[in-house]
């Protein structure tokens, strides 16, 4: 523990930066995925565009995506924005599919009932469909959260200061403890984020508190129904 105690400030700074770099894409992918999920359920064409587009983007390995982005969004190669945008793209790719599944999981009779008692389409969406889609949305964002936190560290290759720096610096200087500290903090962050999301889920959906997604143990995201066309989104995180 000699290295860790002597470098506490560095570790704290990198951890905070890691959290900041992870939170932005997680929130962005949640917010963006809901309209995309809604769009995907409109017609076969929009579904093909959203879902196929998402899985194609998800196929691009992270390092190439980090360095291709500057060309598209006009940033410098070693700009942090590239990392944030790339992680948001991966997040949206996972989450748009989740949101589409979540919204289509709402029972048809419920939607009809809401129409019958006079909800406008907008308030039906916000007050009936969205809350009922909540558990599946929560499961999706938990997957995004865990894989985003793990992936932030690759950003060190394009000069971002996060926990990945501990891997890079530890390897270069031959300090195994530094690498291990980085891995452990990264895992802890993933755990804390996951617990926080479950807690947010309970607060936002008190009617679900006793069952389902809110009660599951850490990272035991409910197993999605097998989708033969693309089973990978659930098991793999881009690297």
């Amino acid at each position: 523990m000699r290295w860790a105690t002597g470098n506490f400030d560095l570790i704290a700074e990198l951890t905070l930066n890691h959290v900041r770099l992870a939170i932005i894409p997680i929130i962005a992918s949640f917010v963006l995925s809901i309209p995309l999920g809604w769009l995907a359920n409109r017609s076969k064409v929009t579904r093909a565009i959203v879902i196929t587009g998402g899985s194609l983007l998800y196929t691009i390995p992270s390092l190439p995506l980090f360095v291709i982005l500057p060309l598209i969004i006009g940033t410098r190669v070693l700009d942090e924005t590239n990392l944030i945008v790339a992680l948001s793209i991966y997040g949206v790719a996972i989450m748009a599919r989740s949101a589409s599944d979540a919204l289509s999981s709402v029972a048809g009779p419920t939607v009809d009932a809401a129409d019958a008692i006079g909800f406008s389409p907008m308030s039906r969406f916000l007050r009936v469909e969205l809350p009922l889609a909540g558990p599946v949305l929560l499961a999706g964002i938990r997957v995004v959260s865990v894989s985003t936190i793990a992936l932030v560290s690759v950003g060190v290759i394009i000069g971002s200061a996060n926990l990945g720096y501990l891997f890079q610096n530890g390897k270069q200087r031959g300090i195994l403890e530094e690498v291990v500290v980085g891995i452990v903090i990264s895992l802890l962050l993933a755990l804390i984020f996951d617990l926080a999301l479950v807690a947010i889920g309970r607060l936002a959906m008190p009617w679900n508190a006793g069952s389902g997604a809110g009660r599951r143990l850490w990272l035991r995201v409910p197993a999605p129904t097998p989708e033969p066309a693309d089973a990978r989104a659930d098991t793999r995180s881009p690297a």
Binding site: T59, P61, V67, S153, V154, A231
Partner: protein, 254 residues
């Protein structure tokens, strides 16, 4: 877009493909390394994960283990795992062998969860009624597994391998940052030399490789689907749900 054209020009420039070029050239050597690392790692991972996945899927034992394991593995930072193993093997192995052994083990570890999940969920998606019918016909457990469950589960099994291949292709790219070969070497050299042709050319090559291999695996996945069982391209009706006009024994006939 100018930069993109230049990067494409860099890729098709024949001098970058002539043998004996200065590192990170020639391109085909890096491509061959990338494919070789990926193939070896996925093969080893399949040898470990497929039997385990079949066992869990067939018996239903250890189901929670698979769900928990694949979930937790997602939290593991690939770069950290890679560097950790490279360092640990650096202590015990020679300078020549440590990088290749250490990184191959990292690739194998990262490939296992997808293959395991594919094998397990593939077997689980097989209709229970079909398995009962096979058993009632006198098939042994081994015959049920090899002649009924695995053939029906093949698209999902291939899907798991497909995910693992992509994961390893992506991780091999990162591993070049730690001195391993592969196409990622072109990107990291470019970052070091501040040469955007190299960076973008390498990135485009890796992306093309990933999309190309993924496309081939997608075709393979489609080709392994059992004809007449269900159209696996659409999610409805799902593979494990009987169609409404075929009541299962558990459903009372009204």
């Amino acid at each position: 877009m100018n930069l993109l054209l230049e990067a494409l020009r860099w890729i098709v420039d024949p001098t970058h493909w002539t043998p004996g070029g200065q590192s990170p050239l020639p391109i085909q050597d890096r491509l061959a390394e990338h494919l070789a690392y990926t193939a070896v790692a996925v093969l080893i991972a399949a040898v470990i994960a497929l039997p385990l996945g079949f066992f869990i899927g067939h018996t239903g034992r250890g189901r929670q283990f698979v769900i928990g394991f694949t979930g937790s593995m997602r939290a593991l930072p690939t770069l950290g795992l890679l560097f950790f193993l490279l360092m640990v093997f650096g202590y015990v192995l020679s300078y020549d062998w440590a990088p290749i052994i250490g990184s191959t083990i990292a690739f194998v570890i990262l490939a296992i969860p997808s293959i395991l999940a594919g094998a397990y969920s593939g077997l689980e998606s097989v209709d229970r009624v079909t398995i009962d019918a096979a058993r009632a016909n006198g098939m042994t457990e081994w015959q049920i597994l090899s002649q009924v469950e695995i053939p029906l589960a093949l698209p999902l099994i291939v899907g798991g391998i497909r995910a693992a291949v992509l994961q390893v292709i992506a991780t091999v790219t990162i591993a070049s940052y730690a001195g391993l070969g592969g196409l990622g070497r072109i990107i990291t050299s470019g970052i070091g030399l501040n040469d955007y042709d190299l960076i973008l050319g390498g990135a485009l090559l890796v992306t093309a490789l990933a999309l190309g291999i993924d496309g081939i695996m997608a075709l393979l996945q489609r080709a392994t689907a059992t004809k007449g069982l269900t159209d696996l391209r659409v999610s409805e009706p799902q593979a494990n749900q009987p169609t409404p006009n075929q009541p299962t024994p558990s459903q009372p006939n009204i």
